[in-house]
Each structure stands twice: as structure tokens, then as C-alpha cells.
Amino acid sequence: MCCRLLVFAAGLGLFCVVIPGARADENVWSGLVVATNAAHQTPTPPEMHQLRETLQRTFGYNQFEVIGQSRKVLQTGEENWLASSKHFSLHVDARGPSRDGYRLRLQLFQDRQVLLETDATLSKSSPLVIKGPQIGAGQLLLLLVVQ
């Protein structure tokens, strides 16, 4: 009788401690975007709706085309993935959860050559934008958003 009660109480305690702290799986969208100026704009991809105005204001372009993207559901926060286009690829190596997001190592490749390496803590509700090389009359942008 007492043992059953103790087991019940222990289970309850565990429930109370674990459930509130449980972290739901989160989706990180990574995109390779070419920003250009166009007279007739095409619709912005849904992943970029929130960022469109900021990008337009910051970089001075009015059209954004996704040339490569990846969606990754983070469960442990230590996954890695690749978003790539024909000539560029962004390798993302998640190195565990941080205070309010994830620690990441990012590498931008142009074909097989590393153009840029960076370490960042990607926070929820705070996207990361990286300005890449100029491509023709446009600009390569790398975007990472926790969704």
C-alpha cells in the first residue's frame, strides 16, 4: 500500500518537473536567397514573409528568390544539414541548445571552396541574415530562421 503510494507520488513529481520544462521540437529553415531589383515582383516565399521588409530596407532590393533551402527539425539540437543550390551550399552544424536557441557553426561553400565560416547562437524569433557575394546585379543572402 505504502509502496504503491510512494511510486505514485514519485511519478507525479516527475510529471510535474518534466512536463513544464519539456522543449518542443523546433524547425529551422535555412535559405540561400538571391536578392535583385525587378520591375515586376514575383511573390515572396512564405518563409520570408516576415523578413521581406527588413531585407528590402537593409539591402535595397525588392525581389527575393530562394535558390536553395532546407528545413530541419531539431530534436537534440546537435543535428547538421545542408542547404544548397547549384553553386553554393550552406552547411549548418548545430552544437547544442543555448539559453534561448541553438549554437551553430555555419560554412558557406562556393562549389568546393569555403567562402565564409562563422559561429553563432541562433535565437528563436531572431533570424540571422548573412550577406554573401555579389551575383550579377543581385546579392546572395543566407537566411536562418527558427520557426
Binding site: A9, L116, T121, P133, I135
Partner: protein
């Protein structure tokens, strides 16, 4: 039998409870018969007066109501005393029931907490912004590249601004 004391005989004499023989004997023993008779008369008068004065008075409506109420309260108090005693002897709160009640309350609390926390809207914006810890451009590939970092607090966007990378032809924008 046994000898009565003078006081007992006196009281019985005043109340007229002595037999004829006893009365005669007692009256003969009195030193001052006249004073005793006077005292007896006084006692009778006093008794009559007290009986007359101490008759229960007729109660008015209000008094009658109060009287009834007091009587009922007294009756209920008499009843409640044994009931309390019984409750003290056999409480419903046995140890087992106490434990089960406590555990059930905790379970209920946990379930309510779970649902309340689940329904609580998560704050749409975290207080932390994305941070760039470091950035490196290969100097052999892009010797003139510079890196700067800024954050647009209003939009909560962190920008890693890299200048000086080699410009590429438009075909690099293909998917």
C-alpha cells in the same frame, strides 16, 4: 428508632408534621411556649408570603418566545455533546484516507498545472537576439573581405555583413 435533634423537631413542629404524642412531648419541652408559638406563626406567614410571591408569572409573547428558544438551544447543546464525543472516537480521516486524499489533490493540481501551462500563450518574442560569435573569411580566396555585424533591434534581425567577396556572374544564381 433514633432520637431527633431539637432542630428537626422544631422544623417538624412548625410544619405540623409531628404526631399528637410527639407534639405534646415537644411542646412540653419548650421553655417559652408563647414565644415559640409566635415564631411558628411568623414562619407560617413568611411561608404563605413566599408561596404567594414566588408563583410563576404569566409570560408575554416575547418572553415566551425567548423561553422556547433557550429551551431549544439547551436541548441541542445536550444532543451535540455526545455527538462530538462519538466523532472524536471514530474520525473519518484515517491515515489511509488522508494519504489518498493528499495524493489525489496533488494529481489534480498537476493536471490543472499542465493544462494551464499548455494553454498559456508562449511569448512571441524572446528577449535574446541571435549573436554572431566569430566570422572568418579565407584570406587566400578573398584577401580584401571585411566583416561587420549589426542588429536591427526593431525587426530583431542579426546581420553578418561581408564586403569584399569576389563578385560572380549571374549564372551563379541558378537553383
Amino acid at each position: 428508632m433514633f432520637m431527633k435533634t431539637f432542630e428537626e423537631n422544631w422544623t417538624a413542629w412548625v410544619d405540623g408534621k409531628l404526631s399528637d404524642a410527639e407534639r405534646a412531648e415537644f411542646e412540653a419541652s419548650l421553655d417559652d411556649r408563647v414565644a415559640a408559638e409566635a415564631e411558628k406563626n411568623q414562619a407560617h406567614k413568611l411561608g404563605a408570603l413566599l408561596r404567594e410571591q414566588l408563583q410563576p408569572r404569566a409570560m408575554g409573547n416575547e418572553e415566551f418566545f425567548h423561553h422556547q428558544l433557550r429551551g431549544r438551544i439547551a436541548a441541542e447543546m445536550k444532543e451535540s455533546v455526545p455527538r462530538r464525543a462519538t466523532a472524536a472516537r471514530e474520525s473519518w480521516w484515517t491515515i489511509r484516507r488522508l494519504l489518498w486524499t493528499g495524493a489525489s489533490s496533488l494529481a489534480l493540481f498537476a493536471v490543472c498545472t499542465f493544462f494551464v501551462m499548455r494553454e498559456k500563450p508562449t511569448p512571441s518574442q524572446s528577449q535574446y537576439l541571435t549573436q554572431i560569435l566569430n566570422a572568418r573569411v579565407d584570406p587566400n580566396v578573398s584577401p580584401y573581405a571585411t566583416v561587420s555585424i549589426f542588429q536591427t533591434k526593431q525587426d530583431r534581425v542579426t546581420v553578418l555583413w561581408v564586403d569584399g567577396l569576389k563578385s560572380l556572374p549571374p549564372e551563379y544564381a541558378t537553383k
